[in-house]
C-alpha cells in the first residue's frame, strides 16, 4: 500500500494542512497529512514513496530538522518547503539539504502543483534508479563504491585482493545493469540513488 506515491503534508496548523490536502486530493493525488514532523517520521517506512510538502516554521521540530532526520532514515523523499515568509539563510540551508522547491504559503496553485509534480517525478526517478542499482551483486556494489571514490582499477584490485581484469569485468557488468557508459555518469547516478 505504501508503495503508492503519496504527498505527505506536514503543518502544525490543522486548517492549513486540511486545505492543502483538499486541493491535492481534488487534483488527483494521494495525500496524507501530519500535524508535526515527529508524526511524519513515525509513520514512515523504507517502502514509503512520494514527497513531503512541509511548513518550514514549526514548533519543536522545524522543517529543516525534519528534512535532516528524513535523510538519516532510509526513507529519504524529495521535500517541498512552504513558508509564510522565507529568509535567505533558511532557504539556502533547505536547498543544500536537497529541497526540491521552496514556496510561499499563498503561492499560485499552478506553482504548487508543479512543485509537487516535480517532487514526485524526482521520487519516481530515484526509485527507478535505486531499482537499477538493486540489480547489482554484492561484489559489484563493492567495486562501485571504489569507483565512486575515484580509484583506479589497479588500486581496486589490490584492495579487494582480486585480479585487475576481474575488476574490469565487474565494471562492465554493473555499467550495463545501471545503463551508463562513463565513470562520471556512473558516479553521478550512484550519488543520486544514494548508493556508494
Amino acid at each position: 500500500v505504501s508503495a503508492v506515491p503519496t504527498v505527505h503534508v506536514v503543518d502544525d496548523d490543522g486548517s492549513f494542512a486540511r486545505s492543502v490536502e483538499r486541493l491535492l486530493a481534488a487534483s488527483g493525488y494521494r495525500v496524507r497529512s501530519f500535524a508535526s514532523g515527529a508524526e511524519l517520521l513515525a509513520a514512515l517506512s523504507g517502502e514509503t514513496r512520494g514527497c513531503v510538502l512541509m511548513d518550514l516554521n514549526m514548533p519543536v521540530l522545524d522543517g529543516l530538522a525534519v528534512q535532516a532526520r528524513l535523510a538519516e532514515t532510509g526513507a529519504a523523499m524529495p521535500v517541498v518547503f512552504l513558508t509564510g515568509y522565507g529568509d535567505i539563510p533558511s532557504t539556502v540551508r533547505a536547498m543544500r539539504g536537497g529541497a526540491v522547491d521552496f514556496l510561499e504559503k499563498h503561492a499560485a496553485k499552478d506553482a504548487l502543483l508543479a512543485a509537487v509534480r516535480r517532487a514526485l517525478e524526482r521520487d519516481r526517478a530515484q526509485a527507478e534508479l535505486r531499482q537499477r542499482f538493486a540489480k547489482l551483486t554484492q561484489r559489484e556494489l563493492e567495486v562501485l563504491r571504489h569507483v565512486v571514490r575515484g580509484r583506479m582499477n589497479k588500486q581496486i584490485a589490490a584492495d579487494l585482493g582480486i585480479h585487475e581484469r576481474t575488476v574490469k569485468l565487474h565494471r562492465a557488468a554493473l555499467s550495463t545493469k545501471v545503463g551508463v557508459r562513463s565513470a562520471a555518469e556512473l558516479t553521478a547516478l550512484a550519488r543520486e540513488a544514494g548508493v556508494g
Binding site: 496548523d13 486548517s15 492549513f16 486540511r18 486545505s19 492543502v20 483538499r22 486541493l23 486530493a25 481534488a26 487534483s27 516554521n57 514549526m58 514548533p59 519543536v60 522545524d62 512552504l82 513558508t83 509564510g84 515568509y85 529568509d87 510561499e104 504559503k105 499563498h106 496553485k109
Partner: protein
C-alpha cells in the same frame, strides 16, 4: 459726601478682594505656586488700603484721620513684602539682599508708626474738605514731618530701585519673552508703584493738597501682575499639553518599533489562514468542476474559509489596536484577557524561536485601572525583551514566565522572568534610561517608555537579576498596577 467716591473705592476694594480670592485658591490647590500666594497678599493689602483711604476721606476730626493713617502702615508693610516676593518668585530676578532690606526698612517704618502716638513719620494737625472727583473729600491741610520720615522716603526709593533693577536684569536677557516680561515688570509694576509713591509723598510733604490715593494705581498694578500670571498659566498648560502629546507620540513610536520586531512572525501567522483560504477556494473550484460535486466536502470547505477569515481578522485587529495612535484612555482592564491578547501576538514568534512562554495569571485577579493599549505595550515589550534575552544566551532552557498576583490589597503585581543571561551589572542601573540598549538594532526606548507608562498608571516598574542557580537564570522585570475601584 459724593457717591462717586464711595462707588469708586468700593469697586477698587471689591476688585482687589476678588483677585486675592482667585489667586489664594490657586495657591491652595497647588502649593508650589508661591507667586500666587505673593499676589494674594498684595491684593488683600490693596483692598485694605482702599478701605483705609475711604475712611481718611470721610474722617470727622484730625485725630480720626491720624488714626486711619496709622493703620495704613499695616497693609503697606504686607504690600511691600508681597511685591518683593512676587518679583523674586515669579520673575526670578531682583537682588535678594535688596529685597530683604526694603522689607526690613518698611517693617521699621510701619512698627514705629503703630507704636508712637503722633506717628513716627507724619503728624496731621488739621484737616479740610477739598473738592475731589466731583464731590468733597477730607485731606490734610496742615501737617508736620516726624523724625523717621526720611526712612519712609528712603524705603520708597529703594523699593523702586529694587523693581527697576529686576526689570533691567530681565531686559538684558537675550530672548524676546524676557524683554516682554521686563516691560510688564518695569511699566506695569514699577511704573504704578512710582505713581502711587510719588502722589502720597507729595501729599505728605505738603506739596499736594488732596486725599492720599494709593489704591487706584495699585489696582492697575494688580492688573499687570494678573496678566503676567495668566500668561504663565496658559503657557504652562500649553507646555503640559505638548509634553503629554510628545509622551503619547513616543509611546506610539516604541509600540511600532516593538511590533516591527514581530512583523516577520506576524506575517507568517497571517499567511496561515490566508494560505488556507486560498487552497480551500482552489480545491472548491476543482470540486465544482466535477460532474457530481461532493457537497459535504464543499460545505466543510466553506466553513473552514469562514473560520480562517475570522482568524486572519483577529490577527490584524490585534496589530491595528496596538498601531493606532491613542491618548491615555483609562478603563477597567482584566489582566487575564490582556495577557492572553499579548500572548496571541507573540505566539508565532516564540514558536519560531523555540521559546516556551509560561503564564500563571490566577482566575480571580481583580481588574486594574488603565489604558488597555499602553498596558499591552508594556507587557509586549517585556515579553519580546525576555525572548531576545533567552535567544541570546547559551542556556538550553528557553523559557519566559509571566506571573501575576494580587499584591498588598491595593495593587496587582506582574512579573516577567526569563532564562537568559541576565542584565550586565553595569547596565542594570541604567536599564530604564532612554537610548540604553544591548540589542544591535534596538533604539533603547522600549523600557524607558514602559516605565513612563507604568508610572503614569500609578505603579512602579523595576528590574533585577535572578539567582544564578536554576533554570531561570536571567532577569525578572516586575511592575505593579493599582487595582480599579470596586474591583478588589
Amino acid at each position: 459726601m459724593g457717591g462717586t467716591l464711595f462707588v469708586m473705592w468700593t469697586v477698587v476694594g471689591a476688585a482687589a478682594l476678588t483677585l486675592a480670592a482667585v489667586h489664594g485658591l490657586v495657591w491652595l490647590l497647588d502649593r508650589r505656586g508661591l507667586a500666587n500666594l505673593a499676589f494674594c497678599i498684595v491684593a488683600l493689602s490693596v483692598a485694605a488700603i482702599a478701605r483705609i483711604e475711604f475712611g481718611m476721606m470721610q474722617a470727622g476730626t484730625a485725630a480720626e484721620y491720624a488714626a486711619w493713617v496709622r493703620w495704613l502702615h499695616v497693609p503697606l508693610l504686607f504690600l511691600t513684602a508681597g511685591l518683593v516676593l512676587f518679583i523674586r518668585w515669579h520673575f526670578g530676578t531682583g537682588r535678594a539682599w535688596l529685597g530683604w532690606t526694603v522689607i526690613a526698612m518698611r517693617g521699621v517704618v510701619s512698627v514705629a508708626n503703630l507704636a508712637s502716638e503722633p506717628g513716627a513719620t507724619w503728624q496731621v494737625i488739621r484737616i479740610d474738605e477739598v473738592p475731589w472727583l466731583g464731590g468733597l473729600a477730607v485731606a490734610s491741610s496742615e501737617a508736620a514731618l516726624r523724625p523717621l520720615q526720611w526712612l519712609a522716603t528712603a524705603t520708597a526709593l529703594l523699593f523702586v530701585a529694587y523693581g527697576v533693577d529686576a526689570a533691567l536684569a530681565l531686559w538684558r536677557k537675550p530672548d524676546r519673552e524676557s524683554r516682554r516680561t521686563a516691560l510688564v515688570v518695569g511699566g506695569g509694576i514699577v511704573g504704578f508703584l512710582v505713581v502711587a509713591t510719588l502722589q502720597s509723598q507729595l501729599v505728605v510733604w505738603g506739596v499736594l493738597r488732596m486725599p492720599v490715593m494709593l489704591s487706584p494705581p495699585f489696582l492697575i498694578m494688580l492688573g499687570a501682575m494678573t496678566y503676567e500670571l495668566c500668561r504663565h498659566i496658559v503657557a504652562s498648560a500649553r507646555i503640559e499639553g505638548e509634553a503629554r502629546r510628545l509622551r503619547d507620540e513616543l509611546a506610539h513610536v516604541a509600540r511600532v518599533s516593538t511590533l516591527s520586531e514581530l512583523s516577520g512572525s506576524l506575517a507568517h501567522e497571517l499567511s496561515q489562514p490566508l494560505g488556507a483560504i486560498l487552497r480551500n477556494a482552489e480545491a472548491a473550484e476543482l470540486l465544482l468542476a466535477a460532474e457530481q460535486p461532493d457537497l459535504a466536502e464543499l460545505r466543510a470547505i466553506v466553513s473552514d474559509i469562514h473560520s480562517d477569515d475570522q482568524r486572519a481578522g483577529a490577527i490584524i485587529e490585534r496589530m491595528r489596536a496596538l498601531l493606532k495612535r491613542n491618548s491615555l484612555e483609562l478603563q477597567q482592564v482584566s489582566l487575564q484577557a490582556l495577557v492572553q491578547d499579548v500572548l496571541e501576538l507573540v505566539r508565532s514568534d516564540a514558536a519560531a524561536r523555540h521559546v516556551t512562554i509560561e503564564c500563571a495569571v490566577p482566575e480571580g485577579l481583580p481588574a486594574v485601572r488603565g489604558d488597555r493599549v499602553q498596558l499591552s505595550q508594556v507587557l509586549l515589550n517585556l515579553l519580546v525583551n525576555g525572548m531576545d534575552a533567552v535567544c541570546d544566551s547559551a542556556n538550553r532552557v528557553r523559557r519566559v514566565v509571566i506571573e501575576a498576583r494580587f499584591g498588598d490589597g491595593r495593587t496587582v503585581e506582574v512579573t516577567v522572568a526569563d532564562s537568559g543571561r541576565g542584565i550586565a551589572p553595569e547596565v542594570l542601573p541604567r536599564v530604564f534610561d532612554p537610548f540604553v540598549t544591548t540589542k544591535p538594532k534596538g533604539m533603547g526606548i522600549g523600557l524607558a517608555v514602559s516605565r513612563t507608562i507604568v508610572e503614569a498608571h500609578g505603579g512602579r516598574l523595576s528590574a533585577q537579576n535572578n539567582a544564578k542557580k536554576g533554570e531561570m537564570s536571567g532577569a525578572t522585570f516586575r511592575f505593579t498596577l493599582p487595582v480599579a475601584h470596586g474591583a478588589a
